[in-house]
């Protein structure tokens, strides 16, 4: 796992701005409805485009599991990975693509565009996203270790845990 990047990583405002701009451009060019970035561990990083009307947290955990399961299938048949997956629906389809082995780009699209168009445009955006994520992982890996939160965070969080789970 170490090869895939830092063991823990953080996401800052400037990263968000760059990623959002890229995704917006991609959606405009490809005519897709919505793009979601999901961490391989199942956490949602960000979304762009039409606001999804489903539970994005659950979606992210399932998308990551889907991708990981397919990765294992790839290994079994002698491939290093399946770098992209496509799920076709009657009206809505989704295309999933690997970004720097740590993040998954999920694109939701309908019949306003075509799979071919999505495929072409995804290639470009994945390349640029991979650059940004590599920079982020390198930064996390070389950042000085120490507390990433202001003092009192742990105490306050513990109080909140007691309050939330206390009398149940």
């Amino acid at each position: 796992m170490a090869a895939a990047g830092a063991s823990s990583w953080s996401f800052e405002e400037r990263d968000f701005t760059r990623i959002d701009r890229l995704l917006q451009g991609f959606l405009y060019d490809s005519n897709a409805r919505c793009a979601l970035l999901v961490d391989r561990t199942g956490q949602l990083v960000t979304t762009a485009g039409e606001k999804p009307d489903f539970d994005t947290t659950a979606f992210a955990s399932l998308a990551a599991a889907d991708f990981s399961a397919n990765d294992q299938l790839a290994t079994m048949i002698g491939e290093n990975e399946f770098s992209s997956l496509f799920h076709q629906g009657e009206k809505e389809s989704m295309y999933l693509a690997d970004v720097a082995r740590r993040v998954i780009l999920v694109v939701l699209f309908d019949n306003r565009t075509t799979l071919g168009m999505i495929r072409i445009k995804v290639k470009g955006v994945v390349r640029e996203l991979a650059e940004i994520f590599r920079e982020m992982f390198d930064r996390s890996a070389t950042a000085p270790q120490g507390s990433r939160f202001e003092a009192g965070f742990a105490d306050e969080a513990e109080d909140e845990i007691d309050r939330l789970f206390g009398d149940l």
């Binding site: 561990t41 199942g42 965070f153 513990e158 939330l164």
Partner: protein, 192 residues
């Protein structure tokens, strides 16, 4: 491997419930789902077989609310306990921040507990993680059954590192939140 998103000011932590088949991992999550306020939890997702055995995982997000401006959330996962689902089990451990081992206290399940614990060490090892270094608690479940091993014996067999342990009857909710509280506090400590 918690993800800290400074842009949206969010922290997400992953806690995995591990243990042999039918030890009560899903029951733990179901009880948490039932008891926490609906506005603090998301949907409980279960990828299970028709006979309600976990096939891939159960997933439940629980919101702690905003702590010092950071929206803090725990993602609770279970793994499939049955031995032959190891490939799926390993996938779920990816990026784990804290582990709960749910042991089945029944005498006849002792070997299954030990095997599952070994499997946990092994699978974490493949991600370069050592159970002795990450937030970890053990729950001895099914303490209400007549044929349980003595706590001392379970401790001797399963808990050489003396991590925090809790007795539980997950079907009635006993010990479920003590366990969750303990592991989530350890995870928060490891973050800060």
């Amino acid at each position: 491997m918690s993800m800290i998103n400074y842009a949206s000011r969010e922290i997400n932590c992953k806690i995995v419930y591990y243990g042999p088949g039918l030890c009560g991992k899903t029951t733990n999550l179901e009880y948490v789902y039932e008891k926490v306020a609906p506005n603090t939890r998301g949907k409980l997702i279960s990828l299970a077989t028709e006979t309600e055995r976990t096939l891939f995982f159960d997933f439940l997000p629980v919101d702690l609310g905003a702590i010092r401006g950071f929206k803090t959330r725990f993602h609770l996962y279970t793994v499939p306990g049955q031995v032959y689902y190891n490939a799926s089990r390993k996938l779920i451990l990816k990026g784990v921040d804290g582990v709960v081992f749910v042991a089945d206290s029944q005498v006849e399940r002792l070997d299954a507990n030990i095997e599952s614990m070994h499997n946990l060490y092994e699978n974490l090892g493949e991600y370069g993680l050592d159970l002795r270094e990450i937030p970890f608690v053990i729950q001895y479940n099914k303490r209400d059954l007549p044929n349980t091993s003595a706590l001392g014996e379970l401790e001797a067999q399963l808990n050489p590192g003396k991590v925090p342990h809790y007795e539980a009857v997950a079907t009635r909710g006993i010990g479920v939140f003590d366990t969750l509280k303990a592991v989530s506090k350890l995870v928060i400590k490891s973050l800060s």
